[in-house]
Amino acid sequence: MQRRTTLKLGLGASLLSSLPLSGLAGQKTSGAEQLQVLVNRQYTEAGHLADAMLSRNIAVQDISGDLGSLWYRSIKPQMESKPAVLFGMTDTIDLFCLEELARDFGMQTRFRLDHIIHSNGRVEHVPADGLNLADIRQLLPASPGFGAKADELSALALQYHHQPVLHYKKSGPFQRPDNTTLVTWLIS
């Protein structure tokens, strides 16, 4: 996969950032970059995102099994035949692994929004540097169910498809035991 070829195809990819999610379904066969959506269905909110995507005929891959197996046998071969933008909602460990794996294609995290789900149900949305928190508070509820806001999340993420990388390797593969941290991200 040639990284600079990916950038040349960005002309097609830039269309993605201006389309509502429902318009993405038609892009899969256009020859432009594909949007590959990855979620970890082990988590309820990620399942909501997946269901919202599927309802719009956007294919979703579930990475709740062994991510390595899925990457090397499915995602990577697909990306070698057609460039892709990766978008998804997973835990931070999955993102850490995906960042390492996507390095083979010269891809980095350009959008990152952490969702800290506290044991009392309260949700904190923590944007990476450069994201406007006020916008996010308007878009996403600070309570369960935010994963269903697939339109809002994907639109937010795709705005950053061509932005300078700010959020790459922001954290490692360890988590606190007292909450669940999911993350919505875009890797391109």
């Binding site: 070829t5 390595g68 090397y72 046998r73 692994c97 980095q108 390797k169 490692g172 035991p177």
Partner: protein, 539 residues
């Protein structure tokens, strides 16, 4: 843009242009965004001036392009740092030892050249990952089994050349020890093949290791004497079956007898990786409160430890034995092992483990625990350890492994655990070891007393981790122990402990370096070997 040391912007621009002519414009990476891809995720210097940062990266497609790149680097005196998959995270990852080096990313050289399941070997290029090799074998129904590290996203070549290790049968767990035949590009751009590969037209390159005359393979592991572009790998014939069993011994002092019997079984090639534990001592690096209390007034005496063990009603030590082979032999070997332990250690008890026929059926793999036992690459370890008692209070962003090599003696296990506790306390850090700390057995003829120091996106925390790491290296050396592998941040310090006869070993390596790589371009400083023109960089 970072520049290579002692290279002007104009010179570097010219070199990049020549690299581009050699490998194509799509495969030379020099923007800040590109370079960020080659940062070490687990760096103990993240964001600090001392963090190792590349100046550029070049990805050649074949050996001829590697030769061209090396010759260009030599002309401009630009240090280069070859990587295969660059995922050796706790040991430096894709980042170079010397900031400003140009990373030679060998990911495009990703062919599995041959796998023979009658003579049991593979021949691979640097960019082949364990996943790639596993799939190659699996898709063709070849009857061989890999020995892999955990996680499995690295490469057989990269892992072997850093003395990486695995989880199955002894001869295969030592990954460099189970290589057979290398092809190397030298600093001057020549190609060498070792062993029988040096005979033109040889068809036994992956059969006989030594060839004739001195063998030089060891010079290319954990070093900077050349760039390996092909490697033969010995593979285990796919066993027919797997069986595990547990041995429990009652007394604290029974550890010596346990180790002796395990050593007999390992050295007789009767068992795979043994796994020590302590039922009374609790999980390693997470001792229960009553065990930690034993250390409150200093290290407990042997009689105190024996009293504690007998009061708990649990065995002091255990070992999990793993057998590979035909069903008849694995069952017979387990029976024989039990007989030997029973005779050697009064009160030893036993528990059957699993019996599995191999290969594992595809449909059973997703739910199979500990896939590394069967050479099945995966990334599950990241989720397994994401939450653990060592990191729960303050989850880090990575870790630096420190594995201290000790002899296969109970006394060494106890003394090294005590050394670790003292080292942690010296720096005001709560210790993670206890008198019941158990060793790892990656190398079949040595034990490892491990610890993991956290790394962060926080300079102050990283400084504390680095200080503790180096303090442990110092204390280990006082006992005649040292680590076998370490990240670039610690390599000079670690190598300084191999100081016999005024560091004669390092001085010999430096003479070789000056002769083989007179401009010092390949991975300067790797494992403490600095070229003459950079020896003031040490430390």
């Amino acid at each position: 843009m970072a520049l290579p040391p002692n290279v002007s912007e104009a010179e570097f621009a010219n070199a990049l242009s020549e690299f581009t002519s050699a490998v194509g414009s799509d495969w030379v990476f020099s923007s800040d965004e590109d370079i960020a891809l080659y940062r070490d995720s687990y760096s103990v210097y993240w964001g600090e001036e001392e963090e190792r940062i590349a100046s550029a990266a070049v990805a050649p497609a074949n050996v001829e392009q590697v030769q061209q790149v090396v010759r260009i680097a030599n002309r401009y005196r630009i240090p280069v740092y070859p990587i295969s998959t660059g995922r050796n995270l706790t040991y430096g990852g894709a980042a170079p030892t010397l900031s400003g080096s140009v990373v030679i990313d060998l990911k495009r050289m990703n062919r599995v050249l041959e796998v023979d399941d009658k003579r049991h070997f593979a021949l691979v290029e640097p960019g082949v990952s364990y996943f790639d090799l596993y799939d190659y074998i699996h898709e063709r129904g070849l009857k061989v089994m890999l020995d892999i590290p955990d996680p499995g996203w690295g490469s057989p070549m990269g892992n072997s050349l850093d003395h990486g290790v695995g989880y199955t049968f002894g001869p295969y767990r030592d990954h460099f020890g189970s290589h057979i035949g290398l092809e190397i590009v030298t600093a001057e751009g020549e190609i060498i093949r070792t062993g029988m590969g040096a005979v033109p037209g040889s068809d036994s390159w992956q059969d006989y290791h030594y060839g004739a005359g001195p063998s030089i393979e060891g010079l290319f592991a954990q070093s900077n004497f050349g760039i390996v572009t092909k490697m033969g790998v010995k593979l285990m014939p796919m066993p027919e079956a797997y069986l595990s069993g547990y041995v429990f011994v009652p007394r604290y002092q029974d550890l010596q007898g346990l180790i002796e019997e395990v050593s007999y079984l390992e050295d007789s090639y009767l068992v795979g990786m043994p796994m020590y534990g302590s039922p009374v001592g609790g999980p390693f690096m997470n001792a229960p409160a009553n065990v930690r209390a034993l250390m409150e007034n200093g290290w407990p005496s042997m009689s105190q430890l024996e009293s504690f063990v007998s009061s708990q009603g649990l065995p002091a030590w255990s070992v999990k034995l793993q057998f590979y082979g035909p069903e008849e032999t694995v069952r017979a070997n387990w029976t024989a092992a039990q007989r030997r332990f029973a005779a050697a250690i009064p009160g030893a008890t036993f528990e059957a483990g699993e019996f599995l026929t191999l290969p594992i059926p595809d449909e059973a793999i997703p739910s199979l625990p500990d896939k590394v036992r069967f050479g099945i690459p995966n990334l599950e370890i990241f989720h397994l350890v994401a939450r653990n008692p060592m990191t729960d209070a303050d989850p880090p962003d990575g870790h630096a492994d420190l594995f201290t090599m000790i002899p296969r003696k109970a006394e060494a296990v106890w003394d090294s655990a005590r050394m670790m506790v003292e080292a942690y306390r010296d720096l005001g850090v709560p210790p993670v070891h206890s008198p019941f700390a158990t060793p790892l057995t990656y190398y079949s003829r040595a034990l490892v007393m491990p610890t993991l120091l956290p790394s962060w996106r926080n300079a102050a925390k990283n400084e504390r981790s680095r200080n503790l790491y180096m303090h442990i290296l110092d204390k280990a050396a006082e006992n005649g122990w040292a680590t076998y592998r370490t990240a670039p941040a610690f390599q000079d310090h670690a190598i300084s402990k191999y100081s016999f006869n005024d560091s004669a070993l390092l001085r010999f390596q430096e003479k070789l370096k000056d002769s083989i790589d007179p401009n010092g371009i390949i991975s300067p400083g790797r494992y403490g070997i600095w070229p003459a023109n950079m020896r003031n960089n040490r430390g």
